[in-house]
């Protein structure tokens, strides 16, 4: 099952939006942090985990999802959020810690919540799993449509909560898909130094569910595998485990010196950058002309600019707002 031309254009648009958004964030993140880099300074303080390089996973999966479907994301959530349709202006404002942010500045970059598109995050490794399985259970119990997808990193698969949630999802046959973004690193620890099997998709056998590994950080292959998994979930046939071979082009967070990477690894990754690859393929396949692709890129850039401007122009929260929204109103 291949994506239609419209879907390919959407996928490309989302990948470019995500990339440009993160490029903007990365630039602004350094404002106020020079000459002395202090994470606490500047318009965007705190840790910043970029997903550039991993965009194919988000778009390949989310191409199959509606607003009504549920996604739980990780500490590295921008690409997933954008592909899921999270409000970009309000997400940007949240990252800037503004009053107009999705959470009024309470959550920040690791806690992006957009109830309109059923998107949530957690900064604790693997802790999107349980909530996604629970949302899937909720749909099943209420006989409502919708699937839930939990994105996790390959490092998260060694966390106990991951295992528990996989078993629960399989046992209860809920409409759930677990998507592992295998970017080969958990901060500085290589997959081989953390994981006792080569492919986490093999771990699907421990739950009696289908498991598949997708190589090559390829949006088309991801699209296809995710399509099957989502369809299976929608049909009531239970969960699927997908592991996607991908990579992060940046450090674990901005400021990471990446001394743990083998020599040359990063250059090789940039050679394989999935965005120009997809552009070239779409043009070659006649899915869009170069001019159309340029237009998509320009529109994405404009969208990002508008979101950043919205965020910049928005007001700070009042300090005392910190004390509100602890409990439900």
């Amino acid at each position: 099952m291949a994506p239609t031309p419209e879907q390919q254009q959407w996928m490309y648009r989302m990948m470019v939006t995500s990339r440009k958004f993160e490029e903007a964030i990365a630039t602004i993140y350094m404002e106020g942090k020079t000459p002395a880099f202090n994470m606490a300074d500047g318009p965007i303080p705190g840790e910043m985990h970029l997903s550039n390089g991993q965009e194919p996973v988000a778009v390949g999966v989310c191409a199959h999802l509606e607003a009504d479907d549920v996604v739980t994301a990780t500490h590295r959530p921008h690409h997933q959020a954008i592909a899921k349709g999270v409000n970009l202006e309000r997400m940007a404002a949240e990252i800037f810690g503004k009053k107009t942010g999705l959470s009024g500045g309470r959550g920040g970059h690791m806690h992006i919540f957009d109830a309109d598109v059923n998107f949530a995050c957690s900064g604790i490794i693997a802790q999107g799993m349980g909530p996604a399985v629970g949302a899937a259970l909720s749909r099943k119990m209420q006989n409502k449509p919708g699937v839930a997808v939990a994105f996790v990193g390959e490092g998260a698969v060694n966390q106990g909560g991951w295992h528990e949630a996989m078993n629960l999802a399989a046992l209860w046959k809920v409409p759930f898909v677990c998507v592992i973004e295998d970017n080969a690193w958990g901060i500085s620890v290589a997959k081989g130094a953390s994981t006792s099997v080569a492919n986490n998709s093999d771990r699907a056998a421990a739950y009696g569910v289908p498991g598949k590994r997708i190589e090559g950080n390829d949006p088309y292959a991801i699209y296809e595998a995710a399509g099957e998994a989502v369809a299976r979930a929608r049909a009531g046939d239970g969960p699927t485990l997908l592991e996607v071979d991908t990579y992060r082009l940046a450090g674990h967070f901005i400021g990471d010196a990446e001394g743990y990477r083998p020599e040359g690894e990063k250059d090789a990754l940039f050679e394989k950058d999935p965005i120009p690859k997809m552009r070239d393929k779409m043009v070659a396949d006649g899915v869009a002309t170069a001019a159309e692709m340029d237009a998509i890129e320009n529109e994405a850039a404009a969208t990002v600019d508008a979101a950043i401007k919205y965020a910049r122009d928005s007001a700070d929260p009042s300090p005392e707002d910190a004390l509100t929204k602890v409990f439900a109103a």
Partner: protein, 339 residues
């Protein structure tokens, strides 16, 4: 006033009845946990529900607390109102992230756009030689961390009303029930916990303490099991001509500091009774809440009777030595010097 034909229930029955009544009117309520279906809960609080509601809504789980409490969070965020059981509070260490970092914080992290209306019920307390991984209270541990309401009933009336209030609350509520008050056949029970419970559904306000005995000479503040010990001590003190006031906190979060302060302003003396560990817990918080507010009302230094800072021993003589009891409260009053 005791009317002899009034229906008395145990806390276990009162909890089950509350859940039953709410499930009858609210299809989004369901129960999840270990051994809560066929077994009806180790401490009886879901007994009978499986027959009425079936295994989808009365859902036994694997021994996977992180996953099923996390799943309750996800279900709550998706429109359900799960009541989820952590069989013994002592097990919180395997799943506390789902509790304190997700359940408790997602309302805040989302700026209030995502609500997490769920109840986490869990058994507390010792006194029956179940040793150090099955006898703790951990009230202070839960109450210390923001974003979750925390309640602990001392009797069946409050137990039913608090459970109903908790299920209707749009915020997550931790509901801590003491094993020694449950009225289980196989476990000793404090008789005072089994009281009249109205048939119909009602709520008891979360965040409001109760003066369960009025007095003028000393304020005894406690919760759960300690309330009964406080009442017993008050009865003994009354024989000595001392008129003790007993405050049942009912709720730890929110903590009703006003009621405590008013009582101490009246009596001038404060004794806090807590089955949780002594240091960095409930007893200190109650004392600090009074003393930071006004020390001029105090006629004596406040006292606390709490579990010493040791893991809970198995052997009966050692465990009983450590537990709070009425005698210790009476003795503490005796030691209170006039300032």
């Amino acid at each position: 006033m005791t009317i002899s034909n009034e229906r008395k229930l145990t806390i276990a029955r009162a909890m089950a009845e509350s859940i039953q009544e709410e499930m009858q009117v609210d299809p989004t309520v369901f129960v999840m946990g270990e051994d809560i279906a066929a077994l009806g809960g180790v401490y009886g609080n879901t007994r009978g529900l499986l027959d009425e509601f079936g295994p989808e809504r009365i859902r036994d789980t694997p021994i996977s607390e992180t996953a099923f409490i996390g799943a309750a969070v996800g279900a709550a965020q998706d429109g359900m109102r799960p009541v989820v059981e952590l069989m013994f509070v002592d097990f919180f260490g395997v799943c506390f992230d789902a509790i304190y970092n997700l359940m408790a914080k997602n309302n805040y992290f989302s700026g209030g756009n995502v609500k997490v209306p769920m109840v986490l019920m869990t058994s507390t307390g010792g006194g029956y030689s179940d040793a150090g991984q099955h006898s703790q209270c951990l009230y202070g541990t839960f109450a210390h961390l923001p974003g979750m309401k925390v309640v602990a009933p001392s009797n069946a009336y409050d137990a039913k009303g608090l459970m109903t209030a908790a299920m209707r609350d749009d915020s997550p509520v931790v509901y801590m029930y003491h094993k020694g008050l449950q009225g289980m056949g196989w476990l000793g029970t404090e008789e005072g916990a089994t009281v009249h419970v109205p048939d119909e559904s009602y709520t008891v306000e979360i965040g409001k303490a109760k003066v369960v005995r009025e007095g003028t000479d000393v304020t005894i503040v406690s919760l759960g099991m300690g309330v009964h010990q406080g009442l017993a001590a008050a009865a003994t003190l009354a024989e000595q001509g001392v008129n003790a006031e007993v405050v049942d906190l009912v709720s730890l979060v929110p903590l009703d500091r006003d009621t405590i302060r008013q009582s101490v302003a009246k009596t001038g003396r404060l004794i806090v009774v807590d089955e949780d560990y002594m240091s960095y817990g409930v007893s200190a918080e109650v004392i600090a809440s009074v003393t930071e507010h006004d020390i001029s009302v105090l006629k004596a230094a406040p006292k606390r009777i709490a579990y010493p800072d040791v893991p809970i021993p198995y052997a009966r003589v050692m465990e009983q030595y450590c537990l709070p009891n009425a005698d210790k409260i009476v003795a503490a009053f005796g030691e209170m010097k006039v300032a």
